[in-house]
């Protein structure tokens, strides 16, 4: 016997995008359901990333005028409060952009001045409120050694960014979800969307679980599967390529010797060179990036070796090999793969009303506090009247997983 669920809004995908949007929409008088194919929230792309929260210089260097830059910069002041409200760990450890030679120095100078122009100038449209951002500064070799004693002697100094922070993204997704649940959002786990029928402006979502969901508005937050879901109703007006990143994680023993996120600017190679502590003092290094099929989930030796070599280049004295806890590969959606100018997609489709596509990719977790607000803006613009609830509680939590 088929079960039928009626909802005002159904959100496909319980990752960082789906849960953060669910939380934001739970402020309004709506019946909402989140449909997730796995047994819990934040188990795909949300859990397989470097877990940095772009809080500083990095988010200011995103391409001006893109949604990617806008949402990340606007999220900067929201994170500390969010962490207090929802009670997840938020560690502001600071970042060091290492300088190998004069060329790096020149590039960073440019980055600092561009960052200032686009976001710290009082006339800028993306002005960050005072107090949420500490200025970036250059540190010399001696100070670099004070900040990070184990760092290689090959670096002349660094650009020090005190703002960079880290969270545990699955923990954040869970916090969003639990708050949403406590405010009335339903969650449906172990359920995969098979087919979607659109009639007039209503959607019928057929699942592999013998559940039929009827809904007025659908938010497609299916992460790396967003294109396939959008194609079900011919609402794919974006394209992306799956970008696979391989990261190696090290235990607390080496983790404790490193207190800042350290990075080198990539030069002549598409792979990133980052070593970053996590909220619980472990360490993540990588990232080996390759465009590939999304079914290609295998963690390969050369990618793992690359990640270890990055850690060894930055900290030659530490014995990383004997402290590996796990290595993993995750996917992110890369839009504009031909130009390399990645951008988010958060939009309704021209020909499919009441359908919202969300594609995040790089820095998606960092932008999550703004996602829901953007979706609300889009829905309001398309004429949907949202009525605020009087009994919304921003910090209450309720278990979501079955």
């Amino acid at each position: 016997m088929q079960e039928i669920i009626n909802a005002d809004i159904s959100i496909i995908g319980g990752g960082i995008a789906g849960t953060s949007v669910a939380r934001e929409l739970s402020k309004y008088d709506l019946s909402i359901i989140v449909i997730e194919q796995k047994h819990g929230v934040g188990l795909e792309g949300t859990s397989t990333n470097h877990s940095l929260v772009c809080q500083g210089g990095d988010s200011l260097t995103f391409r001006p005028g893109t949604l990617h830059a806008e949402l990340n910069v606007k999220s900067i002041p929201l994170w500390p409060r969010l962490s207090e409200e929802l009670g997840f760990k938020f560690r502001r450890m600071g970042g060091l952009w290492l300088i190998r030679d004069y060329s790096d120095y020149k590039k960073f100078q440019k980055m600092v001045s561009r960052a200032f122009r686009s976001t710290l100038d009082p006339k800028s449209p993306l002005l960050i409120p005072e107090g949420s951002f500490s200025p970036l500064r250059f540190v010399d070799k001696k100070e670099l050694k004070d900040l990070e004693p184990e760092i290689s002697d090959n670096f002349l100094g660094a650009l020090y960014d005190p703002n960079l922070a880290t969270v545990d993204p699955p923990e954040v997704a869970k916090a969003y979800a639990e708050n949403a649940k406590a405010n009335g959002v339903d969650f449906l786990f172990n359920t995969k969307i098979k087919r979607i029928k659109r009639e007039e402006n209503k959607f019928e979502l057929y699942t592999d679980n013998n559940v039929l969901i009827k809904s007025n508005i659908v938010i497609n937050a299916a992460g790396i599967e967003a294109d396939r879901v959008a194609e079900m109703v011919k609402a794919r007006d974006f394209s992306y390529v799956p970008l696979k990143g391989t990261i190696v994680e090290f235990d607390e023993e080496v983790g404790r010797s490193i207190s800042h996120a350290t990075m080198i600017l990539p030069r002549g190679s598409p792979h990133l060179q980052v070593v970053s502590p996590t909220v619980d003092n472990r360490l993540k290094a990588g990232i080996y990036l390759e465009m590939t099929f999304r079914s290609d989930k295998e963690v390969r030796d050369y990618a793992v070796n690359y990640a270890i070599s990055v850690a060894k280049t930055l900290y030659p004295a530490l014995r990383f090999e004997s402290h590996i806890t796990r290595s993993f590969a995750g996917f992110m959606a890369m839009t504009n793969p031909d130009t390399g100018w990645h951008d988010f997609v958060i939009s309704t489709h021209d020909f499919v009303p009441n359908w919202v596509n969300i594609v995040l990719g790089a820095a998606g977790v960092s932008a999550s506090p703004m996602l829901g607000k953007k979706v609300v803006e889009i829905l309001t613009k398309s004429g949907i009247i949202l009525k605020e609830k009087s009994n919304y509680n921003p910090s209450i939590r309720k278990r979501v997983e079955p």
């Binding site: 294109d227 609402a235 794919r236 394209s239 465009m291 590939t292 999304r294 793969p337 031909d338």
Partner: protein, 272 residues
């Protein structure tokens, strides 16, 4: 994954699916190799004839510059497109919709689309790029002419493989001589692309098989390639006139006589 005819066809299917789903105007979809030479081109029936060469030239530009036209315009040339455009007889097409295909970090070819707005062209070409990284094939329903052209191409590929002939380039034109489809089978030297297209053009322009044009307008033989008449004029065997829905087909890759035999056999096989 390497750039073969099969991959190029998959990319084109992804592009057509994207443009149909998004109610975009029909156009020409082109994929070239790393040297800018055509691997596959498809034009939908209602697309403007001029989009054929625009799409091919966009793909060529992305291939030989190893860059997207968007980057070429905004970062390299910064609006001064004429600096490049005077070269290569204006073939350099710095209009969005020219996208390089990147596999394992290297540009292996170019994808071009023409027929929509520049932004639309770019979106469609990017959909082709993304299509290369999809496991599934897209099922698309296209118009009568292109559908028939694809059936002819499939039959040709089967025929060539079955008879162990050298791989060929197939061109199918509409009744006005504009290509609906050009496929270069894997392993065919790129020189045959233009030969095949010229044979098809010649057949559809004179409404006879390409080598019979000599009987029709003998004086043209004085200049063997018909220079001064048309750059596409080619009177070697291999072009066969059809004149119903499609104009002509042009085959090139083996000796001219063999090419002609292939073309004739294909038409028999699909009952024309």
């Amino acid at each position: 994954m390497s750039l073969s005819l099969a991959l190029a066809r998959k990319i084109i299917k992804a592009m057509i699916r994207f443009s149909i789903d998004n109610h975009m105007l029909p156009g020409t979809y082109a994929v070239t190799d790393s040297g800018g030479h055509v691997i596959a081109v498809e034009r939908r029936d209602n697309a403007l004839p001029a989009t054929v060469d625009l799409a091919i030239d966009k793909a060529w530009t992305a291939s030989v510059m190893r860059l997207s036209a968007r980057v070429l315009d905004q970062v390299i040339l910064r609006g001064e497109v004429w600096r490049l455009n005077v070269k290569y007889n204006g073939r350099m097409t710095v209009i969005p919709g020219a996208v390089p295909l990147i596999i394992q970090g290297e540009v292996v070819g170019g994808i071009g689309h023409s027929g929509e707005s520049p932004e639309g062209d770019e979106k469609i070409a990017q959909a082709g790029f993304a299509g290369a990284y999809r496991e599934e094939e897209f099922e698309v329903k296209v118009e009568k002419g292109l559908e028939l052209a694809k059936a002819i191409a499939d039959t040709t590929i089967d025929y060539v493989n079955k008879n162990k002939l050298r791989p060929v380039v197939i061109t199918v034109t509409d009744i006005n001589g504009w290509p609906l489809l050009i496929y270069r089978m894997d392993g065919t030297p790129y020189g045959f692309v233009e030969i095949s297209r010229s044979r098809a053009w010649t057949s559809s322009a004179f409404k006879v098989d390409s080598h019979k044009v000599v009987e029709l307008v003998g004086s043209m033989l004085e200049s063997p390639n018909g220079e001064g008449s048309n750059e596409r004029f080619n009177t070697t065997p291999g072009g066969v006139y059809v004149g119903d829905v499609i104009g002509a087909i042009g085959i090139a890759g083996n000796t001219p006589e063999e090419d002609y035999k292939i073309a004739k056999s294909i038409l028999k096989l699909i009952n024309f």
